[in-house]
């Protein structure tokens, strides 16, 4: 089963389906009757990307073409913006490799921008050398008709640090998956997510973290707001392998459901095979606090404004954790725009 094979062979049987446990809430096999033809080369003009002003090194991958490898030399510092753009209703795959040398520092600002009913997959491999540090901010602003899948595989060497915030507004089907392995000792990971979904949009944030070295830290906070008939999916799995002693792993997922017909499916999982570890997870799904809402209205805020203020604050906790200041403010403004409709 692989989306890449499905696209290459135009074989729907290769698409992940509800029978695959990891895809049970994002069933592509049941959705796509016939695979679209390969996407054509796109020759038109593009508007500016959300992070263009923040990076000197800007790359654009359109309809799967142009994904040149990113290599950050040992000890150097870089900010790179990468746009994965889909135009039209075809199918395509983009493969990107990112190699960050020892003690190098990279801020990777990534966007997904589809316009139309494309089926796309981005497969990203990120390798961090010893003591390297990467912050990845992903803003997925897909089309309501798109099927968009991004799968990142991240490997951390000893003492490496990886921080990530994935921000998504959903699509017809959208899956943003991150798999992180800490084979080295003392690696640190922050793995955050935000989904703000309206209409019939769907967004799936799936993460799998494997601690294989000792003294690793994982801090994960995901928050979502769903309204209308939207559906949010959060699957977070943290595996602490045998021997990965003194691992500290914390996972939180909290969602607000703002309408009766919206849905959130959450599956937080901790699998612990080591001793002497500190692991915890929390998961809440509920409505906006009516008492807080009344309090804000008693002070003079109209209902829509009070709701927007409280939901922005709810999401703000995750936004505030973004390290790159410019990206943080882009995300904050983007979230405010979505929440205030």
């Amino acid at each position: 089963m692989s989306i890449a094979t499905a696209i290459r062979d135009r074989d729907v049987a290769e698409l992940p389906s509800r029978r695959d446990e990891a895809w049970r809430w994002t069933d592509l096999r049941g959705l796509i009757r016939k695979l679209p033809p390969p996407s054509e080369r796109f020759a038109g003009e593009l508007d500016a990307g959300a992070f263009d002003a923040l990076a000197a090194d800007r790359r654009v991958v359109i309809n799967g073409r142009g994904a040149d490898p990113i290599e950050i030399a040992r000890g150097s510092t870089a900010v790179v913006a990468v746009r994965f753009v889909s135009r039209g209703a075809g199918a395509h795959i983009a493969r990107l490799t990112v190699e960050v040398g020892a003690d190098a520092k990279l801020q990777l600002l990534e966007t997904y921008e589809s316009d139309g009913a494309a089926l796309s997959e981005a497969a990203i491999t990120i390798t961090l050398g010893k003591g390297a540090s990467v912050e990845r901010v992903v803003l997925a602003q897909d089309d309501a008709e798109a099927v968009s899948v991004s799968q990142a595989r991240v490997t951390l060497a000893a003492r490496a640090r990886f921080s990530q915030t994935v921000v998504a507004s959903g699509a017809r089907r959208q899956r943003l998956e991150t798999q992180v392995t800490h084979p080295g000792a003392g690696a640190e990971l922050r793995l955050d997510g935000i989904y703000l979904l309206a209409d019939k949009r769907h967004s799936d944030q799936t993460t799998v973290v494997t601690h294989a070295g000792t003294d690793g830290v994982t801090a994960q906070l995901a928050k979502g707001v769903v309204r209308d008939q939207a559906r949010g999916v959060f699957q977070g799995r943290i595996v602490v392998a045998e021997g990965a002693d003194r691992t500290d792993a914390r996972m939180g997922h909290h969602a607000l459901i703002l309408s009766d017909r919206a849905e959130v499916d959450a599956k937080p999982e901790l699998e612990i095979y080591a001793d002497d570890v500190a692991c915890a997870h929390g998961n809440t799904v509920g409505a906006l606090d009516e008492d807080a809402l009344f309090y804000a209205r008693q002070r003079g805020m109209g209902e829509p404004e009070a709701r927007a203020l409280l939901t922005e604050a709810f999401i703000g906790e995750v936004v505030d954790r973004i390290g790159h200041e410019g990206a943080r403010e882009v995300v904050r403004a983007w979230a405010a725009g979505r929440l205030r409709g």
Binding site: D289, E290, D291, A292, F294, Y295, A296, R297, Q298, R299, G300, M301, G302, E303, E305, A306, L309, L310, E312, A313, F314, G316, E317
Partner: protein, 248 residues
């Protein structure tokens, strides 16, 4: 100013207010005292329009305008302010942001220009200093991790910033030590004005030594069962609510 007539209100299917009538003219401070469960907090929530507090009969008007027909935020824009007995914590929203959003929402509703950031911050600094609130505290999420006394001070700060016309203080003295009580009372007294009125809801007489009322009403069994001058509060302190509860 405020006129309440024969007010009946139901909460969770149970009638709590049973024909309450009350008039508070502009420029006056009235106290409402009563035993626990008499309907004191219900009255404050009915006047401010909280969901779940259903009025089944009677009326409440502010300067002749039907309050009960207005949404909570519309009542606020008309100048109704409730200092909550248990102020809510608002995670993620700095106090300054919350107050400025509220202030400008009220101004827009009244057709006034919004207050800009410099003017707002100047006003906030001055009012916070009056109430001996550290200005840095206003940059923190409103009421999150604040002590009971700090929360009450934040209520009075919001009141001073929003400059309402009709003030309801629901058990504002609870959780305050004697120094905080004096600061809060000074803050409230500073707002006394000929075009303002206040309703001070309290279980104990203590607060009324600091915020001196023009009239005192006893609320028992969902109705006002006795009214008098400030001396009535002292009488209650001595004799308790028992005889009023029996009468209700």
């Amino acid at each position: 100013m405020l006129k309440v007539e024969n007010l009946h209100a139901v909460v969770d299917g149970k009638e709590i207010l049973k024909g309450l009538s009350l008039e508070v003219p502009a420029g006056e401070v009235h106290a409402i005292m009563g035993p626990n469960g008499a309907g004191k907090s219900t009255l404050s929530y009915v006047l401010t329009g909280r969901a779940g507090y259903e009025v089944t009969e009677g009326s409440a008007t502010l300067d002749g305008e039907d309050l009960l027909a207005l949404a909570p935020d519309e009542r606020a824009a008309r100048g109704v302010f409730l200092s909550f007995q248990y102020p809510l914590e608002i995670p993620g929203v700095p106090a300054l942001t919350f107050i400025r959003t509220a202030l400008n929402a009220q101004r827009r509703a009244r057709g006034e220009a919004e207050m800009g950031a410099p003017e707002f911050l100047k006003l906030a600094r001055a009012r916070a200093a009056d109430l001996k609130i550290d200005f840095d505290m206003l940059k923190r999420a409103l009421n999150v991790g604040f002590s009971g006394g700090e929360k009450k001070r934040m209520e009075i700060l919001q009141m001073a910033m929003l400059s309402p016309r009709f003030l309801i203080l629901d058990e504002t003295d609870s959780g305050l030590d004697i120094d905080a009580l004096r600061i809060v009372s000074d803050g409230v007294n500073a707002l006394r004005a000929p075009d303002r009125a206040m309703l001070v809801i309290t279980h104990y007489q203590r607060l009324l030594d600091y915020i001196k009322p023009d009239r005192v009403h006893v609320l028992a069994g969902g109705r006002i069962v006795a009214s008098g001058g400030p001396e009535l509060a002292h009488e209650l302190e001595r004799g308790g609510y028992e005889r009023y509860e029996a009468a209700a």
